[in-house]
Symmetry: D2
Amino acid sequence: MGFAREHEFLKELGLGPRNPGCFVAGNWRGSGPTASSVNPANNKIIAEVTEASIQDYEDGMRACNEAAKLWMQIPAPKRGEIVRQIGEALRTKLQHLGRLVSLEMGKILPEGIGEVQEIIDMCDYAVGLSRQLNGSIIPSERPNHMMMEMWNPLGIVGVITAFNFPCAVLGWNACIALVCGNCVVWKGAPTTPLITIAMTEIVAGVLAKNNLPGAIFTAFCGGAEIGQAIAEDTRIPLVSFTGSTKVGLMVQQTVNARFGKCLLELSGNNAIVVMDDADIQLAARSVLFAAVGTAGQRCTTCRRLLLHESIYQTFLDQLISVYKQVKIGDPLEKGTLLGPLHTRASRENFEKGIRTIKSQAWNILIGGSVIESEGNFVQPTVVEISPNASVVKEELFAPVLYVMKFQTLKEAIEVNNSVPQGLSSSIFTRRPDIIFKWLGPHGSDCGIVNVNIPTNGAEIGGAFGGEKATGGGREAGSDSWKQYMRRSTCTINYGSELPLAQGINFG
Amino acid sequence: MGFAREHEFLKELGLGPRNPGCFVAGNWRGSGPTASSVNPANNKIIAEVTEASIQDYEDGMRACNEAAKLWMQIPAPKRGEIVRQIGEALRTKLQHLGRLVSLEMGKILPEGIGEVQEIIDMCDYAVGLSRQLNGSIIPSERPNHMMMEMWNPLGIVGVITAFNFPCAVLGWNACIALVCGNCVVWKGAPTTPLITIAMTEIVAGVLAKNNLPGAIFTAFCGGAEIGQAIAEDTRIPLVSFTGSTKVGLMVQQTVNARFGKCLLELSGNNAIVVMDDADIQLAARSVLFAAVGTAGQRCTTCRRLLLHESIYQTFLDQLISVYKQVKIGDPLEKGTLLGPLHTRASRENFEKGIRTIKSQAWNILIGGSVIESEGNFVQPTVVEISPNASVVKEELFAPVLYVMKFQTLKEAIEVNNSVPQGLSSSIFTRRPDIIFKWLGPHGSDCGIVNVNIPTNGAEIGGAFGGEKATGGGREAGSDSWKQYMRRSTCTINYGSELPLAQGINFG
Amino acid sequence: MGFAREHEFLKELGLGPRNPGCFVAGNWRGSGPTASSVNPANNKIIAEVTEASIQDYEDGMRACNEAAKLWMQIPAPKRGEIVRQIGEALRTKLQHLGRLVSLEMGKILPEGIGEVQEIIDMCDYAVGLSRQLNGSIIPSERPNHMMMEMWNPLGIVGVITAFNFPCAVLGWNACIALVCGNCVVWKGAPTTPLITIAMTEIVAGVLAKNNLPGAIFTAFCGGAEIGQAIAEDTRIPLVSFTGSTKVGLMVQQTVNARFGKCLLELSGNNAIVVMDDADIQLAARSVLFAAVGTAGQRCTTCRRLLLHESIYQTFLDQLISVYKQVKIGDPLEKGTLLGPLHTRASRENFEKGIRTIKSQAWNILIGGSVIESEGNFVQPTVVEISPNASVVKEELFAPVLYVMKFQTLKEAIEVNNSVPQGLSSSIFTRRPDIIFKWLGPHGSDCGIVNVNIPTNGAEIGGAFGGEKATGGGREAGSDSWKQYMRRSTCTINYGSELPLAQGINFG
Amino acid sequence: MGFAREHEFLKELGLGPRNPGCFVAGNWRGSGPTASSVNPANNKIIAEVTEASIQDYEDGMRACNEAAKLWMQIPAPKRGEIVRQIGEALRTKLQHLGRLVSLEMGKILPEGIGEVQEIIDMCDYAVGLSRQLNGSIIPSERPNHMMMEMWNPLGIVGVITAFNFPCAVLGWNACIALVCGNCVVWKGAPTTPLITIAMTEIVAGVLAKNNLPGAIFTAFCGGAEIGQAIAEDTRIPLVSFTGSTKVGLMVQQTVNARFGKCLLELSGNNAIVVMDDADIQLAARSVLFAAVGTAGQRCTTCRRLLLHESIYQTFLDQLISVYKQVKIGDPLEKGTLLGPLHTRASRENFEKGIRTIKSQAWNILIGGSVIESEGNFVQPTVVEISPNASVVKEELFAPVLYVMKFQTLKEAIEVNNSVPQGLSSSIFTRRPDIIFKWLGPHGSDCGIVNVNIPTNGAEIGGAFGGEKATGGGREAGSDSWKQYMRRSTCTINYGSELPLAQGINFG
């Protein structure tokens, strides 16, 4: 049996109609349950994948643990060279891989390609970083002593990713983890196994070409059982988890109990504040991208829109008119802005959310329905609501935007900060005093604090992540790499005396 | 009723025979249980303290929360000036406060004074830091965009400290927390309330002199109930906890469940490795300071001694002869090297530990008994043991040193890394290849990795803390301050276009 | 013979009517010419000073060179402690020393005290820095190699300061130079010898108290001959020079010819740009402080005022009315805003400048005359002029402000950048697009680029200095300290192989 | 007319028998004198090149100046993408370009290829750097003020390179200069014009492919006249010059006089110290590579060998025996270790040097003669000499090694530091106390301070450059990029008050 014609391109990514879903000790295998990869635009099966069994996992981890001893001794710039080659390999597959992301996840093609581009950018960035994982030499108060801060690899980093960024989040983590000297154990989302396999195949090719153990990059298709195994595994000092706050907290408690560390990227509930002096045009375009992009399934999706009372109606009118023009349809088709939700369950979740909104009598300005079709399409939806409504505190993972009115900046910031999550936030204004208050101690409490751009669309050079229920992790740029290494404060006495700090005299 | 004559100096620290134990909204009060401060050298009561009730706590937190709004808006260098004044105030009380530490905690006087000196050093350091809490400006890939990483105060930092460093650990945390723009809520150890009060009194004086709300520094004497309240309090985004791994894990789970963060300094189980080429003299002096100092009650106390087989007997002979000369007695007396354990319970714990050791038939080379007296004195003890013995994996908070033999560096490192804790470690050698292996990816897995100095006695310029069961926090120098602030990645669009990252084209 | 009564306070600073002007090897002496310290407010002699002969210089340098060997070996945090004590000593003399600055230099008392406060701030800052003079550990591409960047002291730093900041500039340099492990050789301005002596006396006291060689801080009153000796002295790897561009260039060429380095703070010619949307009130106050403060004798004095045509007249009217209220008089008197120029020669220079302005028929809006008195008082002056006028390109060291009109931001920036100097600049606006353009690649080309504050009044936390004819040096905060140290890139091979970089195979 | 057959590969690099030598405004041209590229191995002409006239220069600079306005506005990560493509283009030409370097410069092929690899490494490094050209946000002491340190492009960087690294030094400078937002004006060495052209051709291809002005990279073949024009050109704020100390000083004075900056990489006179405990084998191999590599024409070539008296004779015996096996011959031939000197003049300079050595009666242990042939071959030479000999203070650019004996480390360091130059230095020892003394304040005064590796062969991650007569510049890694940007300290007041620093009250 072969692929449907429109899926022929998958062969270029090493995929077939049936695929083993585990990359273990440099080989593909899979002895767990069989899962189907489904096209969210029509709920038809694209291909099948054999997921990991616990035996696959154990064998993979054993090989990975061995490989770690080797990999951590390779000089960092040499590791950087491997990551550079991964970037080059991705470049040659950019279109195909982007297309697969769009096909299997459901986001529109420009976003699919953008997601792969982001890993390529991460590779380039990590190559430079491989010569800059700098420790410090710190002046010692003791003569003939040298004090240093050194950074060493952790060994193995576990990466558990979610369906909405099925490969970019792996890229954020793996590029950094690898140059830092760690092996990577990846569990992709259960519903995007083809991306997991295709992405792994590319990394595997580079490792093989360089005669390095494939186990340096170990990957599993699978679900909660494998996730749990990773969380409990004492061979994995760091688990990077992307997903819901609820599951993230459980992972964290499991990992902490065995004295491991977590890097969490959990739920967002991101607001855009539009001040009375805002560039309305710019703000409306931004809200559209932020609320409808990726069908509202980004962690940085704008879910709350705070409008100053003086521009409230003008802005809403403009926004609604923009919403009306959104082209919904096959994400691979040129011109589509809104593809399907990722799964039938997501669609049901949307319906459930809308039912709650209606039951509480909030005003649906546009949208609010699923679109009858083979796929998981829903209407982009805008709801007038109060900031105190219970639904506003939760992340409904769909293109549903809550609109609220405010009078003062102080009030807007209070509403912005009033939810448990703390990922992203944005204000539209042209007044420096407002901008710097928004950025300051009494401003937005999020990890991402924007001005005149949407809540989403972060660059890799900065640290990505959020506070409070979002989990506190930081990925990609800035000093995020430090989380992937262990720090030691070292003091060498090269003299023959034993002076003590704080001038203590002992014995 | 007044003080016994030898306690008269406590008046200089604002202490009396009966003391309210809560500094709430700038006033001293206390409506909880009455506790006694006891001298570990004779188990006599020094003075009494009224601990915090939950009402005290709640009132204190309310005031602190108000004060936080003000304090975070004061420019950092101005906050630095306040911390500078705290340092100056401590300088004038150095002798008295050091004496109190020695009296109430039981450590010898030079260590008591050294502990206070460490806070003074921290103040000086924090003053400079108050002009260096730098964010970054990061090149944006989008024209007319400015990307920045900003650091803002958290608001309130909770600090829970342990009896063994009853004021230095507060200093590590509070000096940094304050310049970072946070108010501090401190719960000192239940058995060192006088130090908590005396230390707070000094800070309070500085705040008052500068017409600042006393609630910026809020302090409670109290036990588990207040600790639990801090762990659960959503007004406290960061809880810095020093104590046992067991309690630390519980605090962490409580704080994480409410989306707060922890900075943990938990148990250590620190080894010194002596290679065949070591300077034996230097190593023996270091082991003595590391194993017997503070009566073995430092988190950085050396508990495990790994000796190369070729120098095993020579070294032990020398160590035993040094141990025999250790003067045990009143910690305030000149010449004493070993004071009492902190409490009668600590002494019982020592006895229990020795019983286990004996029951497993390990060889006690010296010591092994309590000393009959009014106080909590025990003998400094050395035990020959196997690295696989169960007792070796645990932290017995007393001057008990386990000695083991090894043949190769690899073996020594494996033993060093074989315990759950990962705080401090030290090697004695003069070979660069060994030194750098010890510091490298396959070396010690601890947060503190020393060469030719003891495991204890860290300088404030480096980051202090450990990995694994030690909790992963870092205090004092380096970039420890970042834990006391929230980071935001900010992008300002000052143009009129909306270019997207990764070159995405949307709509 | 004693002091006039109003100079009695000078005794508190260790000054008398006759003073030896060299601090050589820890002793005061002076065998060069006798110079008089003159009060600019009345041109009466305050006291006399014996300047340095070349023999004094040579003896001083020999001792300093010896002291350098010791000082550079003292651990940096211990050096920081000495600087901390200098700060404390200055605190106790703040009022007296500030008064002397005002008396001898001629600036108003709040500025005199502010100048001393700035050294105190520098001391506090340098103390923190003494634990943060960090080198780096950089990942090596070769196995068993450790690459590091180390910072070591230079040995001796020569500091040549100018009359306008007779002690703060010493503070910027000496505080950093000292913690970096360098001895300091200071030549103060010939017309402010009492400040040189008083300031040195304070440092000397601290050194003596700590049993350190006085030669660590060596100071000379003197003129060009001593300056030349410093420039030529191969024992001084770094010469920090503050003064005119003309002399600075000569110093630089002399120092470079002997392979030494210079840190130059030369002439400024600083503009304030006022946009059409500016806060006029704020801008006018700022221009007053920037143009009239220190009688126009700051290197950061605003000399050029660029007004948008739409607010040109309004702004000028307001400025002139503010200028009319400026109280001119004795700088020590409360309420005085404008004291005398520093010397009779400065006054003559002002007159010469005004003559040129008049000869070119520019429009003097206010001021333009000297004030007949015993002192060196002149009127604060505003001149309407074209940006192309030759006088606009030069620094007239007096309170003369050139006003120009512009139409576009681009034009304003071009004018701002059209002078040889590049020290400070400021814009007044409330539009983010203008602010960030002003700060960006096509904005101001100065070292200091302000928004809505004057050109002067820098904080110590940032790096102070300017580009182009201003000399390119940076003092005070940021990474300025690196100029006071020598950097070495170190690679240690601790293995037994000899792998080569860039994968080269040799032999 | 075509190439000789062995030069056919040059066509792949875009070279022909006659080549215009200027890349001006994106086009190749040349209206100056004709120069010949000569093979140092046989002094035969390889090809001819038309050098730049002043008119070529002026046209090139005008276009470059225009291009600078555009280039500096392109976001840094986008500039990084261009540099990445340059690296990729170089990768495809690595063998050919390496071969050309070997052919035209005369270094052996592995070194020729290694030199090109170094530029490729620099490109990779610069790509990462393009997202890390970070400024700082510094805490302000004034409320409602934001203090920042920004880095902006300079505009144009002039790069004047020397024959010995005819393209790597361009790479160090251009990769960094370009990502920093600067256009590059390059003058290659007059005797390596083909490399200048081939290298430029590669960069030009990338610029063209990206529709960017070719003038962003402007290149001239030429001599002193063009060098002088660059030094005097006020459009070039930074001139990076590599060459002799004598010429470098002249360039510096010219550039400084017009208020420009220099980055100088001048002469070295580098010593290797061999201690009594050294690994003799490792040290001897290192000395061979350091003294004979590139025929002694690296700036980091080891010219002085300091041997501890106890191993003096043993070491020399071993070294001489190694020297005897050095294969001299065609640098393109496999197995050759020593190629020709670069020019006939270099050969004559060697002869002159040997004559001086002989006239002073120093003992030539091996070598000392030119080799009669068509090429510029000379014998690798070792001379026993006193550290006080005048010739030891100078850089003789040929494979001549001076050997000296010492007794103590102190003495060895004094000799190491006794020359005017301060580039590189190395010690061979296995004692930590010696290692850290060598790296410390009383150790080597060079910019490069190695342990157990040669003086040459630096990695790009560190800063490359030296002190004293070597000029003080730093290229490649670490914070070298800062030299290619202008720094501004910016303060934004976003409030409506005007508080002054240092608490000054004005008016």
